[in-house]
């Protein structure tokens, strides 16, 4: 039975890009995944994937947060 997973992408993401992301995860994790893909207006770019109680946050928002922390660190 395939493991369930969620993928959140920006509105208007092409099917090719979505397939590429799904295939990449399956290769990295070494298992077949049953993705539920949702387009979210809360994501400007990148994607967020929830797989097996872990979140893979590659969104623009997450990167901006990382940059903010990096710029503000002493």
């Amino acid at each position: 039975m395939m493991e369930k997973a969620q993928l959140f992408v920006p509105i208007g993401t092409s099917r090719e890009n979505v397939s590429f992301i799904c295939r990449s995860f399956e290769e990295k994790l070494g298992k077949k995944l049953d993705f539920t893909v949702s387009e979210s207006d809360g994501i400007l770019g990148g994607f967020i994937a929830n797989i097996d109680k872990r979140t893979y946050d590659n969104s623009v928002s997450a990167k901006l947060s990382q940059m903010k922390k990096h710029l503000l660190k002493k």
Binding site: K53, T55, Y56, N58, A62
Partner: protein, 503 residues
């Protein structure tokens, strides 16, 4: 117009951006399945530890208290308006911590280090709120006094550095006043103070902060505040945050005084959290580990051995009773943990005896080891005399004729009771306390009318300072009084008495 170096700013930004590489964030996450009354149920957040700081979105934080197979029960540290069902929750991987570096001195902060005094704040060092207490082998016996400046306490119920002395009494009996006066009296003594307000009204805390600022005590004091309007989780964390700050200074070899005002409200906040987390209620609906809640806090107050730096934490926990019942659940718990208690009575307070300390029910288990030698020499019998007076006073109310011995006991007792009255915010120094008790012992106050006692007390202290200032400095410096010094002071007091018209 902003005055800063533009080039320097640009270079700093260029440097920071230059060495930044963005990558995906990978973290364990869960989903909020229920939010109610500041308690959040999170599904599927594996690998958390108890007390771990959790992040809810960008702005909300909570701590994981219940670890279950399929999720986590957490309490929010901030208002729950920003947290909704379905929100993603991630763990930070570390327990909730508090700033502990020198920058906290003079500041008013929340338990998680948010400044509440209107100024910005950044700390160089953070420490976890929960830490194990010092081991037995790393401690030494309490042998150094911590002077409160309150004559009734320093003479009969002395407190030492490293001791836990409970202040217990009904509402409006002067508990906070004693604690604040003790903090004020630490000026110039090298003791760092931490005042922790738990579940208090903001106006009450503001008054305390104002009094400490006016007395110059904020130069060595930190105030940690979780008011009554803060989340129960914040009130729960407040005393542990205060203790962590104190431990940092203790580890540097310094002496610290921590006031927990008050632990009754702390127990209520913990009961609120526990009931909302569906933990089984015990006696008076408190959870089963309510004793451990306070014991693990108060055991962190210690007097460290010289090999471990020699620092100490003196704790003054405050408990509010209802109807004078010190046999209730939380009061008896904390009494059994601490090294003594100061019991304040409403009847004494209302009859003008302030501080309203019941010396019969108050005790210091450290005792005379926590008294300067000079104080030991003059305070030896006053507790017994006071007890005798109270016993005789009961019979005197019946109006029967008393023999000369009884009359003497009653007169001396009334004199002593008046002597022990002390206005708030007026702590005595060691030498002032020694003068007053020496004068009492040498019968200097005999014959002085009761309504003149207060004025006589002030006059005596001024007279001795003007005529024997050198001796007082010696007492202040050494903490001891030789028999020659004692005799000299006694003769100065006699001279004062002879010069007065009421003889």
């Amino acid at each position: 117009m902003l005055d800063f170096n533009t080039d320097k700013l640009i270079n700093t930004l260029r440097e920071r951006v230059g060495d930044f590489t963005a990558g995906a964030s990978i973290y364990s996450s869960g989903k909020v399945s229920r939010v109610a009354d500041g308690v959040v149920k999170v599904d599927n957040l594996p690998g958390r530890c108890s007390g771990e700081l959790l992040q809810f979105g960008e702005e909300s934080w909570g701590i994981a208290l219940d670890l279950e197979e399929n999720g986590v029960g957490a309490v929010l540290l901030t208002q729950s308006g920003n947290v909704s069902v379905g929100d993603t929750v991630s763990g930070t991987g570390h327990p909730v911590d508090v700033p502990v570096s020198e920058e906290v001195i003079g500041r008013i902060l929340s338990p998680i280090g948010v400044p509440l005094d209107g100024n910005s704040f950044s700390a160089k060092k953070y420490a976890p709120m929960e830490k194990p207490a010092p081991s037995i082998i790393s401690r030494r016996p309490v042998d150094t006094p911590l002077e409160t400046g309150i004559l009734a306490i320093d003479s009969m119920i002395p407190i030492g550095r490293g001791q836990r002395e409970l202040i217990i009494g009904d509402r409006q009996t002067g508990k906070t006043t004693i604690a604040v006066d003790t903090i004020i009296n630490q000026k110039g003594k090298g003791v760092i103070c931490v005042y922790c307000a738990i579940g208090q009204k903001a106006s009450t805390v503001a008054k305390v902060a104002h009094d400490l600022t006016a007395a110059g005590a904020m130069d060595y004091t930190t105030i940690i505040v979780a008011t009554a309007s803060d989340m129960p989780a914040m009130q729960y964390l407040a005393p542990y945050a205060a203790c962590s700050i104190a431990e940092e200074f203790m580890s540097q070899g310094k002496d610290v005084l921590v006031v927990y005002d008050d632990l009754s409200k702390h127990a209520v906040a913990y009961r609120t959290i526990s009931l909302l987390l569906h933990r089984p209620p015990g006696r008076e609906a408190y959870p089963g580990d309510v004793f451990y809640l306070h014991s693990r806090l108060l055991e962190r107050s210690a007097c460290l051995s010289h090999a471990n730096g020699g620092g100490s934490i003196t704790a003054l926990p405050i408990i509010e009773t209802v109807g004078g019942n010190i046999s209730a659940y939380i009061p008896t718990n904390v009494i059994s943990i601490t090294d003594g208690q100061l019991y304040l009575e409403t009847e004494l307070f209302n009859s003008g005896i302030r501080p309203a300390v019941n010396t019969g029910l108050s005790v210091s288990r450290v005792g005379r080891a926590a008294q300067y030698k000079a104080m030991q020499k003059v305070s030896g019998l006053i507790r017994i005399e006071l007890a005798q007076y109270k016993e005789m006073a009961v019979f005197a109310r019946f109006g029967s004729d008393a023999d000369s011995v009884t009359k003497r006991i009653l007169e001396r007792g009334e004199c002593l009771m008046t002597l022990l009255k002390q206005p708030a915010g007026s702590p005595y120094s060691l030498s002032e306390e020694v003068i007053l008790l020496l004068a009492y012992r040498e019968n200097i106050f005999d014959g002085i009318p009761a309504d003149s006692m207060i004025a006589a007390r002030e006059e005596i202290m001024e007279y001795v300072k003007d005529n024997a200032g050198g001796l007082l400095s010696q007492i202040a410096k050494t903490g001891d009084m030789t028999s020659d010094t004692e005799d000299e002071l006694a003769s100065v007091l006699e001279k004062w008495k002879k010069s007065k018209h009421w003889l």
